[in-house]
């Protein structure tokens, strides 16, 4: 408090003036923070608005229609949804077991000296731009896969198992996309598994060791049950990444909006259909249908991610409020 009438020093005056900055600064920060909220609302709003023509034309039937013919003005999302879900499911099936194993190794078994470098390398795998995965898929993996696996397998089993039916033509297809996506989501699953396993309290491990359990039995009966929800959450996060992944899928899946039972045949995903067709649309209905598809894709990934966050938080929360 400065009594009036007395000489006021410069620093006092400065301090008094500064004090009034609190409210404006808080408002400024709050405004910017709410811009983040506004961004999300705007994205959903714009996608809703931009898909108006397609929503009026097809309604919810869009989700179950199978025809995708821009020339005839026929648009159905089912082939894209099918391709998205099947390629992501393959990726998850392939990436989850090794991803969890890597998480176990990094959290509990790795020598301390190796833990840092190995974690870094796994994370670098996540940092490689997806277009590079796509290029590697086209130039290296597909030629190898077609010759070494797709052709012999479809010749041997194609007649009896419709999933593996030939003929293998270009080599691009659902299975290849699933494998490339698996490599891309492996780091996500490994990193989340490592994180949730390393917050399991030490006494859980010690209790089982005291009972004479082997190291694997400790992992199997103490760590995994404790961290199960978090590991499933990590898998869902990986799934979310696979569902929305665009470039790698676009480059290796073949971009054919068609449902074929064989995993060796070209297909499409929602993201790759949008990426390959949106820049060259001619009709309003076509672009509107692609925006509608983007809206559907957003809702699917939102669902996967919401479940994931919930599960990861539950484990981390139980371990003492860490996120």
């Amino acid at each position: 408090m400065i009594a009036t009438g007395q000489p006021v020093s410069r620093s006092h005056r400065l301090r008094r003036r500064l004090r009034h900055g609190d409210v404006p600064f808080r408002l400024l920060a709050a405004t910017f923070a709410f811009v983040v909220v506004a961004l999300l609302v705007a994205i959903v709003g714009v996608a809703w608005d931009g898909s108006a023509a397609a929503r009026e034309a097809f309604g919810l039937g869009f989700l179950t229609r199978t025809a995708w013919n821009p020339v005839a003005g026929e648009f159905g999302a089912l082939p894209a949804i099918y391709g998205t879900i099947v390629s992501s499911a393959i990726a998850l099936l392939l990436a989850a077991p090794p991803g969890i194993m890597i998480g176990i190794f990094l959290s509990d078994l790795s020598p301390a000296r190796l833990r840092g470098p190995l974690s870094l390398m796994v994370e670098l795998l996540a940092a490689i731009p997806s277009v590079v995965y796509g290029m590697w898929g086209i130039f290296v993996f597909i030629p190898f896969f077609r010759g070494a696996i797709a052709e012999p397998v479809s010749r041997a089993l194609g007649d009896t198992v419709p999933f593996l039916a030939g003929p293998v033509t270009v080599g691009r297809g659902l299975l290849v996309a699933g494998i490339i996506l698996a490599i891309m989501i492996l780091p996500t699953i490994a990193a989340v598994s490592r994180d949730v396993l390393s917050v399991v309290p030490t006494h859980q491990r010690e209790a089982l060791l005291a009972l004479g359990a082997t190291r694997w039995e400790v992992i199997r009966h103490a760590l995994l049950p404790y961290a199960r929800a978090g590991i499933v959450g990590g898998m869902m996060l990986g799934l979310g990444r696979a569902l929305g992944e665009t470039m790698a899928a676009t480059m290796v899946i073949g971009n054919t909006p068609r449902i074929d039972p064989s995993l060796f045949q070209p297909a499409t995903t929602a993201a790759s259909l949008i990426a390959s067709q949106l820049p060259t649309t001619n009709t309003e209905l076509h672009s509107s249908a692609l925006v509608y598809l983007a809206l559907v894709l957003f809702l699917i990934t939102l669902l996967a991610n919401s479940i994931a966050r919930l599960l990861v938080w539950r484990v981390a929360g139980a371990a003492g409020g860490r996120r």
């Binding site: 301090r15 500064l18 900055g21 609190d22 600064f25 808080r26 920060a29 709050a30 910017f32 923070a33 709410f34 983040v36 961004l39 705007a42 994205i43 714009v46 996608a47 608005d49 931009g50 090794p98 991803g99 194993m101 890597i102 190794f105 870094l120 796994v122 994370e123 670098l124 795998l125 940092a127 490689i128 731009p129 997806s130 277009v131 590079v132 995965y133 290029m135 590697w136 130039f139 082997t214 694997w216 039995e217 996060l237 929305g244 992944e245 665009t246 470039m247 676009t250 480059m251 993201a271 949008i274 990426a275 949106l278 820049p279 672009s287 692609l290 983007a294 894709l297 957003f298 990934t301």
Partner: protein, 291 residues
Amino acid sequence: MFDTVANAASVRYRRRVWVNRLMLGLTIGSTAVALVPLVLILSYVVRQGVGALSVGFFTETFRPVTIGVAGGAGGVLHAIVGSALIVGAALLLATPLGVLAGIYLAEYRSGPAATVIRFCTDVLSAMPSIVVGVTAYVLIVQRTRQFSGLAGSIALAVLMVPVITRTTEEILQLVPQSVREAAAALGAPRWWTTLTVVLPAALGGIATGVLLAMARAAGETAPLLVTVLGNNQLTFDIFGPMQALPLLAYRYTEQPFAVLNEQAWGAALILVVLVLGTNILVRALTRRRAG
């Protein structure tokens, strides 16, 4: 009798030991297998990309290729310039927004507003990049009837904001509460403390977050595909179609010309060096500060 019990026990024990060995072996094997694609992809990118690198690669732009004619290779200068401008503009848009939102979350963290904002950041960071691209397409490209670098910048900025916000919030929380209390005890108002005491202490961490977000954005292709489109000419006009490195890598890969394929790998090499270099650099810097 006693013998058989002991036998059964020892059989069971041996089985447990073998299961233990097998499963531990599997964890090591999985880790090794995960490194195989990393090594394969990186070595292939380097092998193919180094061949494309030359002075002309960095100083020339696209040169038309005709089948059967051995023409000059040209370069990717237009894509480097485009990437720099697009990512730079995205950085200018996203940094103030992300940092201030992060400050709000860290310094005024109580209340339902912060929870809502945090939830929205999470949703935004998990949003597929193509969806963000589509939004920028509808909002800007369709309205202005013009593909533009700026539309791409805005899409990339939206992808960068949640990363920057999250890092800023986490780093600011690491600044000890006692520092804030000390400043308050000296009579500094809260906002002054935030700006002149807390923020400088966290500046390095925030900078690394921004750097990581930038590296991630530089490799993004999908949103650029539907907003920036691509351009074979060198242009500094951010209001028109531009070229960018990841976009060029994608387009040239789909071309039937070996020269362009090779340049695609050159562009991929630049991207990989940029992204992995940033990641390793950030790692080294944060380790030094922590240690």
